[in-house]
């Protein structure tokens, strides 16, 4: 009798392949989204072939492994397929695609591909676990904000995740973080012993099962380091505008539980302030004061609370190094940087509702945009333009980005 679950998963894989074919019929504004679908099709064809290789003669646990693996991919496929589908939606600010692709390629190399999309979740995010799209940078904005050019700097954070992988930062930081975690546990042995009794300090780094008690702390410290690295990259690429965009999206969050993969809100903003100062940027007055902490683990989560405090310390021990690493990566990539003179000139054009020309980089336009947005009433020369200030600014900023992109294309293909 045929294995029912195996047949079911075969059918589900077929459905995913059919869905990919259907999606391919969409009107894609750029090739990379289509390329992403092609790569996903290859993965699911591989599953289809693998499932066809198991037969009634195969051992039951071999059959189960085959359909379990395929089903896990089927389940995960909807996220990424939906993301690619939404990349076709006109709500996305397509004007930023070219400049962001250029920026990504300058840092990651000329084969880098980019997909910009939107998500029905109020958070910028990038996909994790899609390494079968290894040369892709996937950037998603909350759907309601996906045409908002003021949030473009947050793409710098999402680009950071791809940079972290491309520069093998995991490999570089796992040892110092592991060492710091062991050092911290040893220095707080009584606390550790109270939540994980019966272990010996000498077993911390040798015993496989003792190590499993603190691997969560190592994982959280690694993920926190990656997120801090991404914040630094966004900041280094987009300067002060990154601070404003981050505050726009994150400062209103006051409730909920802390994600273990990030420093809590106040510390995260303080880290940004320190980095901005180190990079020679202007920090808005009382910037860190705009952010708030959300709830740390409760006392009934004693293990998580202890391990998270260890993870925080381990991440702190590499924070200044992460700051320097990002600076060196960006400096050596040759990415253009905003200058205050250029920002002023750009802002002067905005005041006249004239698209800015000959701008050195996207960061100049976005920084000018934020300065204009935060300036006192009466920014525009024509008072009528002030009546629809935000909408007019958005329009002129997007037009300036378009002009910048055309200039860049003409310069590279004269």
């Amino acid at each position: 009798m045929p294995n029912f679950v195996l047949q079911t998963v075969r059918s589900q894989v077929q459905s995913v392949l059919q869905e990919i074919d259907r999606l391919e019929g969409s009107e894609f504004p750029y090739q990379h989204a289509k390329d992403g679908l092609d790569e996903l099709r290859d993965v699911f064809r591989d599953h289809e072939t693998t499932l066809s290789l198991v037969t009634d003669q195969s051992k039951p646990d071999t059959i189960e492994a085959a359909y379990k693996t395929a089903f896990s991919s089927v389940k995960g496929s909807l996220d990424i397929l939906g993301f690619i589908l939404r990349s076709t939606n006109v709500r996305n600010a397509f004007e930023v695609y070219g400049p962001l692709l250029r920026l990504s390629r300058q840092i990651l190399g000329p084969t880098t591909k980019l997909i910009i999309s939107s998500e029905w979740n109020f958070s910028p995010f990038t996909f994790i676990g899609y390494e079968h799209l290894p040369d892709f940078v996937l950037i998603g904005f909350p759907a309601t904000e996906s045409s908002n050019p003021f949030l473009v700097p947050l793409a710098g954070h999402e680009l950071g995740h791809s940079v972290w992988n491309a520069f093998a930062c995991d490999t570089k930081y796992r040892k110092p973080i592991e060492e710091k975690i062991i050092e911290e546990i040893k220095s707080r042995w009584l606390e550790y012993d109270s939540v994980f009794p019966g272990r010996k300090p000498t077993e911390l780094n040798t015993d496989f099962f003792v190590k499993q008690t603190w691997i969560p702390a190592w994982n959280w410290a690694m993920r926190q380091s990656e997120e801090v690295f991404c914040d630094f990259l966004g900041l280094r690429l987009f300067a002060e505008s990154y601070l404003h965009a981050s505050a726009y999206l994150m400062a209103p969050w006051r409730e909920g539980r802390r994600s273990f993969q990030y420093p809590n809100g106040t510390e995260r903003s303080q880290i940004l302030v320190s980095a901005a100062q180190a990079y020679g940027m202007n920090v808005p007055p009382d910037y860190a004061g705009m952010f708030s902490d959300v709830a740390e683990p409760q006392d009934d989560q004693r293990q998580a609370k202890f391990l998270l405090s260890i993870a925080d310390e381990a991440r702190r021990s590499v924070t200044s190094d992460l700051m320097s690493q990002v600076d060196q990566i960006v400096s050596s990539s040759g990415v253009m940087y905003r200058t205050s003179q250029d920002v002023e000139r750009c802002k002067d054009n905005f005041k006249m509702m004239v698209p800015s020309q000959n701008v050195a980089c996207l960061a100049t336009i976005i920084n000018a945009a934020w300065e204009a947005l935060l300036s006192p009433p009466g920014f525009f020369k024509n008072p009528q333009h002030d009546e629809r200030r935000d909408a007019n600014l958005t329009e002129i900023v997007l037009k300036s980005i378009e002009v910048h992109e055309i200039e860049q294309k003409l310069a590279s293909h004269p």
Binding site: T62, A66, T69, S123, N165, A168, D170, E178, F208, F209
Partner: protein, 151 residues
């Protein structure tokens, strides 16, 4: 100060890579087919062997003191070794490194005259690794915070 990195030092497959459990599954099917007496080229087994070899290639320190590895990989592979009862399981991190290197060698170069018990042991390990990897990927999905920080 940690040395600056270059983009050329791209890392190989990571434990969250969906191709990895697929590779382990295909390797298990290869061993299953070989046990049925079919002719098999063991391509997936070889690729899995390379992944294991690379993952455990350069621990800092030796034996039980080994560190500087990707601890998620150590955890996942260690669980698979334990679940498959490979040569009596493991106790220390050094055991994981030693057994993983041994398994990598066997996968990379399956002896032509490998006996049924040897093939079955490798098949069981591949299945245990596949289960461990799929379990880890599932936990990543659960791990995504629905917060301003979701990514």
């Amino acid at each position: 100060m940690i040395n600056v990195m270059t983009a050329s030092s791209r890392c190989s497959l990571r434990t969250s890579d969906p191709r990895l459990p697929l590779m382990a599954t295909k390797a298990a099917i290869e061993f299953d087919n070989a046990l049925q007496g079919k002719v098999v080229d063991f391509q997936s087994a070889k690729r899995l062997g390379i992944f294991l070899k690379e993952s455990f290639a350069s621990p800092i320190g030796a034996g039980a003191e080994a560190f500087g590895l990707d601890l998620t990989t150590v955890d996942i592979v260690g669980q698979a070794i334990n679940d498959s009862k490979w040569r009596g399981g493991i106790k220390t991190v050094g055991d994981v490194v030693e057994r993983a290197s041994e398994i990598a060698g066997n996968l990379d170069c399956v002896p032509e005259n490998e006996d049924q018990a040897g093939l079955e042991q490798l098949r069981v390990f591949c299945i245990a690794l596949c289960n461990s990897l799929v379990g880890y990927r599932e936990s990543l999905q659960d791990y995504r915070p629905s917060s301003p920080y979701r990514r």
